[in-house]
């Protein structure tokens, strides 16, 4: 989703035009769009007076930023040490079966994208994953299936409403 010029201007002007705000601006853009569209990186670099090469370098350096469109919900499967030992790979396989797409992919409905993160910081809940702002822990195949089904029901409900 590309922001309208007016909306983008409003987003940028929430910050003074200085390079130190680059990451904050990128975070805001990604929150709105789900990823960093090329034209918005260009606009942000121009506004913040940062060379485009450096803005692009920052956008590609941080794992949290995506330069390609992602699903409506980004599933972050924790692959930190504790989750790794508690079979985070099994969580990924379970999601792959349910969504028909592998790590880094977006499902056919454009609803989910599967990613991994190094650690969510909730090791006591291992294996864990994060969808949007929600955390899900002590995952089993059954719990994962229920969580995904729940999201799908909600989406279907939204469409009907």
């Amino acid at each position: 989703m590309i922001l309208a010029q007016e909306k983008l201007t409003e987003l940028l002007q929430a910050y003074p035009p200085e390079r130190q705000h680059t990451l904050a601006v990128f975070q805001d853009i990604q929150k709105e769009c789900g990823y960093l569209p090329k034209e918005h990186i260009v606009a942000a670099a121009d506004y913040l007076k940062v060379p485009l090469s450096q803005a692009y370098a920052m956008a590609t350096f941080y794992h949290t930023f995506s330069l390609t469109p992602r699903g409506k919900h980004v599933i972050k499967v924790c692959d930190g040490t504790a989750c790794h030992i508690k079979d985070s790979k099994g969580v990924l396989q379970s999601l792959e079966r349910l969504l028909g797409v592998g790590l880094g992919g977006t499902d056919a409905d454009g609803l989910f994208t599967i990613e991994t993160v190094a650690c969510l910081g909730c090791c006591a809940l291992a294996p864990a994953m994060q969808i949007g702002e929600e955390y899900y822990g002590n995952l089993t195949d059954e719990i994962i299936a229920e969580v995904i089904a729940d999201y799908r029901r909600r989406e279907a409900g939204e469409v009907v409403a």
């Binding site: 060379p51 485009l52 090469s53 803005a55 692009y56 370098a57």
Partner: protein, 248 residues
């Protein structure tokens, strides 16, 4: 004010804070480097210039000489067995990263007896770049910040934004000029310079007629030298032979 230090048993004088590498070179002691450039100092990236030091206090260490400050009573050993062993390791790793690197890297490998790299550690067999960052620094200081290191970890590379021919590039070729491993392709042929997949028309020197700079580069220079009366249409070689009067 000067400080006195010993480099390989040779008594040397240095300005306080002057880097050990520069002091050594001034005194004829050669230390190998790849990422060091006099005009763009402070990279401290290739680690080839490691030396052993002993402080006046007696504490010993291994440091990179290109950024280590000269101090009173410092003893530096630039070619000890330990130093050579460390340099062999550095060279092995760099050569494995960039098997096709040209110039000083393969020459140093030969000098230090580094042969038969372990290709298990080679990510790209066609790689020439050791990611020292001299090109991006040159671009930021002499050019127009057209290139940067992008991505990270094993995927890190030097590239223009979005891997497209960079709009900001003025074709000055500073990046290719400073690259120690010949990793940046730049070709001048038939009055056209091709670099970063962009083509620039080369202007001819008004005195000798040789193609020497791009129009974009001269326009950019003019912009920076706001009040200049200098005629920029002469190549550096001809400019050197002219008086200031000829140039204005």
């Amino acid at each position: 004010m000067t400080v006195n230090l010993m480099i390989d048993g040779l008594a040397c004088e240095a300005a306080p804070g002057q880097h050990v590498l520069d002091v050594a070179r001034q005194n004829g002691v050669e230390i190998p480097t790849l990422c060091h450039h006099e005009a763009l100092a402070g990279q401290a990236c290739c680690r080839l210039c490691v030396v052993e030091i002993e402080e006046a206090s007696g504490s010993r260490d291994v440091v990179v000489s290109c950024t280590y400050p000269a101090k009173e009573g410092l003893k530096v050993s630039t070619n000890s067995e330990q130093v050579r062993r460390l340099r062999r390791t550095v060279l092995t790793l760099l050569a494995e990263r960039a098997p096709l690197a040209e110039g000083a890297l393969p020459a140093y490998c030969q000098e230090y007896g580094v042969t038969g790299y372990d290709l298990r550690f080679t990510v790209d067999k066609d790689e020439k770049c050791i990611l020292c960052g001299l090109c991006t620094k040159a671009c930021a200081e002499l050019g127009n910040s057209a290139i940067e290191t992008t991505l990270r970890g094993v995927d890190k590379q030097v590239a223009p934004p979005f891997d497209e021919p960079p709009a900001a590039c003025i074709g000055c070729a500073s990046c290719a000029e400073v690259c120690p491993t010949g990793a940046i392709a730049c070709e001048d042929a038939d009055g056209v310079r091709t670099i970063w997949e962009k083509e620039f028309e080369l202007l001819r020197c008004e005195a000798c007629g040789k193609p020497f700079a791009t129009a974009e580069e001269l326009a950019w220079l003019k912009e920076r030298l706001l009040d200049t009366e200098l005629n920029l249409a002469y190549c550096p070689s001809c400019r050197g032979k002219m008086s200031l009067k000829d140039l204005t």
